[in-house]
Amino acid sequence: MTTKEADDQLALLQGTLDLLILRTIALGPLHGHAIAKSIEFRSGEVLQVGHGSLYPALQRLIKQGLIAGEDGASENNRKARFYRLTRKGRKQLFSETSKWQRLSEAVGRILTPLAEEGK
């Protein structure tokens, strides 16, 4: 994948990635690798460009004040940086999630009659 194509894809999925990160750490603080694994598990597409693309997104969220980072220790007592949701982040997650759900409901309502007609 050339750098140009990489740029395009990333721009498209930036919003989605941010949301996924927020969702992932909503249940509790995680370090970078764990977040990456979790997202990969849930939706493989987004991070196909490489785990590395996680980190700029993290910085973006920190800059917007939605998450905060602090040093901590992992399971194996390894030093790692953990990220948790801030209050603002939690609120943002909630509103974004609602938006997505409303959107998917609306789309569903439009699409479903077709499916029923096919019966």
Binding site: T3, D7, H33, H51, G52, Y55, Q59, R60, K79, R81
Partner: protein
């Protein structure tokens, strides 16, 4: 939170930890440590890119990147000192020369004189239809006529002045001074702020009687008071009358000589004023000519002796003289510097292009490492800008320095600007042009980056085989264009220098070396008789001749070559002529010819007694003899000059023989000598004994063994020994100096020097560019040459290849330049009033350029030929 100093390190650690986690998982999944590591790295992606993008989120990255780029660019410049020096110098020279030249020209054209509303000031000029050889004359008016002029419709104001020669008394050494009686409206009209004190003003008209005010000109103040700033209030005694110094005018206030006093101090009947008129706003010259012409014709009816029989008004703006004198040539000079600017920018572009062609592989590698196209573009822009900005900064410095230099070398041409002012628009324009060309050619290599196939580009560049690429073509065209321009400038310089040499080595007809002219002025009312005056002058002449070191003395009433004599109409007895014909009349002693080394060709000169008696005899020059006596029978003919009359309002001023307008006999023919300036053909001339017509002043032409001016003091002592009150005039001149002070001489010299300088610069730039390009192209084709030699080519053949390519470009440029120069040559000659046109110029320029170009290309060409084939093939 912001991106602090530690954030980079922290992120690096974090990324490392991330990768370690992944490695660990991979190992636990069953991979070998090696495989685990590779898999983890691959999964992560581009670490550097991640770090950069993370930093980018926090903004200000662009500033840091910019600073990085700038530092990198500066490092790059330092690493290639040759390239940088030539590129920066090219830009600096182009910008500096153009700006300084344009600023000076602009100053001359914009502000030729310091007077307020100078565009409306006109000289009282008219065409004298009776004397077509001296087309423009100036009129003077009597006081009542002047008052009438002031009331004319077209005239807003008129400043009148009368020049009177006076003596500074009250000092040990008497000094001659020209006093200008000036109308008191001068300050209101011209509004030039005085350097010290004030100018003559309206209030002086009444207050003049008490402690008469006097204003000094800058030159006089420097000369007489040694630029003493405490001069205000001091008393100056003229002709035994006291005046109080009330002001000093600035250097560029070149109204008249010496000192100014209010007109009201001069009795009305002596006021023959020369009026400089300030027209009302919106009045055209035609309108003014019509109205004032009518007025003047009316005056002519009242006082016919003051005006010629037929004349037409031809008022002249005072700026016309100055501008026409230098206008065309300055425009040409400006064209030359603009070409220099273009050459400078072209040179810089050539260097950038050549270097860019060599950097294709470097740029491809950058792209492969992850740099986006924008990033690379940004870096190239910064590099080009750093170069252009540095060049521009030096260019600004150079502009100031060059303007100062030219200004100080030629104060006469640019006299009216006491401060050197750099014209900002042209500076901005030059810099903009420099930046534009720098950017354009700096970015050209990156245009190839738009190709999506990186791998091909990387490989192709790596092999360093040059083909005909678009870039190579534009490079060749640029070089050819630059060479063409350089050739044109060199041709112009050749013409200017050639013309100058021709002028200075022209046969003047006389020998100006070791001769000086010493003017003297008789006191008012002294020697009112012809015999007395002639005898007095004769005594002086003899006394001067006795001074050791003096080898010849002659008396000359009005004949100081190369521009001498007075225009007179004449008639030849027995050969009537329908039109008026003119000669130059000169009043001299017979030693004039021997002192100036002018040979006698036919007949004889008049002897001493004929000289003293003012006998009616004369000698003509060769031009006269050929034109009017083509059969060679000049000797014995009679001619007369009816205009030469002694009538004057002041008896005792002009004295001479009663038959000045009568017939005199030609007794000899002398060789021609310049008498109408350095560039004009010789006019027919008649030389007569000086005692026939004597003014209040005259000159002694003194020839000495050594430097004439070093004998001046002794000559003055000799004069004083005859008459202790006889001062010598101020402008004692070495005749060689006099030639150098002729304006044509100075102008030609100025233009030769400037054109020569500019062409030298252009040539240097062009050669530097050529050298760089040839070096670069040889370096680029190293592989190819190695292969050729490995395949059996001789070294001479390699040399031939290099030379052939260069040769084609250079020749086409040279040819284009010579053709263009040849086409415009006539226009050039007409504009510089330089009739020097010699096909040898073109040949000389071509040869010179070819030699220099060959010298510039030899080194890289030899380097090409001395490549070791095996090394070359492997050369990356």
């Amino acid at each position: 939170m912001a991106w602090g100093k530690n954030s980079g390190k922290r992120l690096q650690d974090e990324i490392q930890a991330h990768i370690d986690f992944e490695i660990q998982e991979n190992v636990e999944a069953g991979m070998t440590p090696e495989e685990a590591r590779y898999a983890a790295m691959r999964k992560f992606g581009n670490v550097l890119l991640t770090r950069e993008q993370s930093r980018e989120i926090w903004g200000w990255l662009w500033a840091e990147r910019l600073w990085q780029d700038i530092r990198y660019a500066l490092r790059g410049l330092k690493k290639n000192p040759g390239f940088s020096a030539v590129a920066i110098l090219s830009l600096a020279l182009g910008i500096g020369a153009t700006t300084s030249m344009f600023s000076l020209i602009y100053a001359v054209l914009l502000h030729p004189v310091p007077y307020a509303d100078w565009q409306r000031l006109t000289y009282p000029a008219y065409f004298n239809d009776d004397q077509p050889t001296s087309p423009v004359w100036w009129f003077t008016l009597s006081w009542p006529q002047y008052q009438q002029l002031l009331k004319a419709d077209s005239v807003e104001d008129a400043v009148g002045d009368v020049d009177v020669t006076s003596e500074i008394t009250g000092h040990d050494v008497p000094e001659e001074v020209t006093v200008t009686y000036i109308t008191e409206n001068v300050d209101r009209s011209l509004r030039v702020p005085a350097l010290l004190g004030r100018n003559i003003q309206l209030s002086d008209a009444e207050a003049a009687q008490l402690g008469a005010p006097i204003v000094l000109s800058y030159d006089f103040w420097m000369r007489h008071y040694n630029s003493d700033r405490n001069v205000l209030g001091k008393t100056l005694e003229l002709d035994h009358k006291p005046y109080t110094v009330v002001g000093v005018m600035p250097r560029d206030y070149a109204w008249e000589r010496d000192v100014y006093v209010p007109m009201s101090l001069l009795p009305t009947r002596e006021r023959n004023v020369l009026p400089v008129m300030k027209l009302k706003p919106g009045v055209t010259l035609d309108h003014a000519n019509a109205e004032i012409g009518a007025l003047l014709h009316q005056f002519a009816k009242d006082t016919p002796q003051s005006f010629p029989i037929r004349f037409r008004m031809h008022l002249q703006h005072i700026s016309d003289r100055i501008i026409t004198a230098v206008g065309h040539a300055l425009i040409l000079l400006f064209a030359a510097v603009v070409m220099l600017l273009i050459i400078g920018c072209a040179n810089c572009s050539i260097l950038l292009l050549a270097r860019g062609m060599n950097r294709q592989s470097e740029l491809a590698v950058r792209a492969a490492l992850g740099a986006s196209r924008n990033r690379i573009l940004r870096q190239l822009i910064v590099e080009a800008l750093v170069l252009a900005v540095t060049g521009s900064l030096f260019g600004i410095l150079l502009a100031y320095w060059m303007a100062k230099l030219i200004f100080s070398l030629f104060p006469d041409v640019f006299m009216h600007e006491s401060v050197v002012r750099i014209n900002l628009p042209i500076l901005a324009f030059s810099i903009a042009l420099a930046l534009f060309t720098g950017l354009l050619f700096g970015l050209l290599p990156s245009l190839r980056m738009s190709r999506p196939d990186l791998a091909k580009v990387t490989q192709a560049s790596g092999r360093k085989i040059a083909g005909h690429s678009g870039q190579a073509r534009s490079l060749s065209m640029l070089i050819a264009a630059q060479i063409a321009l350089t050739t044109i400038i060199m041709g112009a310089a050749g013409a200017a220098i050639g013309g100058f040499m021709q002028m200075t080595h022209r046969n003047f007809g006389y020998d100006p070396a070791h001769v000086m002219s010493v003017p003297i002025r008789l006191h008012q009312h002294s020697y009112p008789t012809r015999e007395g005056r002639a005898a007095y002058l004769k005594t002086l002449q003899e006394k001067i001749a006795a001074v050791p070191g003096v080898t010849g003395v002659a008396l000359s009433g009005n004949a100081i070559p190369p521009d001498d004599g007075v225009n007179l109409t004449f008639e030849i007895l027995g050969t009537p002529s329908a039109q008026r014909q003119y000669l130059r009349g000169n009043f001299i002693s017979p030693e004039y010819f021997s002192t100036l080394h002018i040979p006698l060709l036919q007949g004889r000169l008049w002897n001493e007694s004929e000289n003293i008696d003012g006998r009616a005899v004369g000698v003509i020059n060769q031009t006269f003899a050929h034109r009017y006596f083509p059969d060679g029978n000049a000797i014995g003919q009679q001619i007369r000059t009816p205009m030469l009359t002694l009538d004057s309002e002041e008896p005792g001023r002009l004295v001479g023989t009663p038959d000045t307008a009568g017939w005199l006999q030609i007794i000899g023919v002398v060789a021609d000598s310049l008498n109408d300036g350095l560039n004009q053909p010789v006019q027919p001339a008649l030389y007569m004994p000086y005692s026939r017509f004597m003014w209040m002043g005259t000159q002694f032409l003194v020839r000495t063994q050594g430097e004439p001016l070093s004998s001046l003091h002794e000559v003055q002592s000799a004069i004083l020994s005859v008459n202790p009150d006889q001062q010598t005039g101020q402008n004692v001149r070495d005749l060689t100096q006099w030639i150098e002070e002729q304006s044509e001489f100075k102008q030609q010299r100025l233009f030769s020097i400037l054109f020569g300088l500019f062409s030298g610069l252009a040539l240097a730039l062009a050669l530097a560019g050529l050298y760089s390009v040839v070096s670069y192209s040889v370096a680029q084709r190293t592989n190819e040459f190695g292969i050729r030699m490995a395949l059996g080519a001789q070294r001479a053949h390699i040399l031939w290849i290099v030379c052939r390519n260069v040769g084609i470009t250079v020749s086409s440029g040279l040819l284009a330049g010579l053709l263009i120069f040849g086409a415009f040559h006539n226009l050039l000659a007409h504009w510089t009033q330089n009739s020097y046109s010699n096909p040898l110029i073109l040949a000389a320029v071509a040869v010179l350029f070819i030699l220099c170009a060959a010298a510039a290309c030899i080194v890289p060409a030899l380097r090409a030929a001395s490549i070791e084939p095996m090394q070359a093939v492997r050369y990356e």
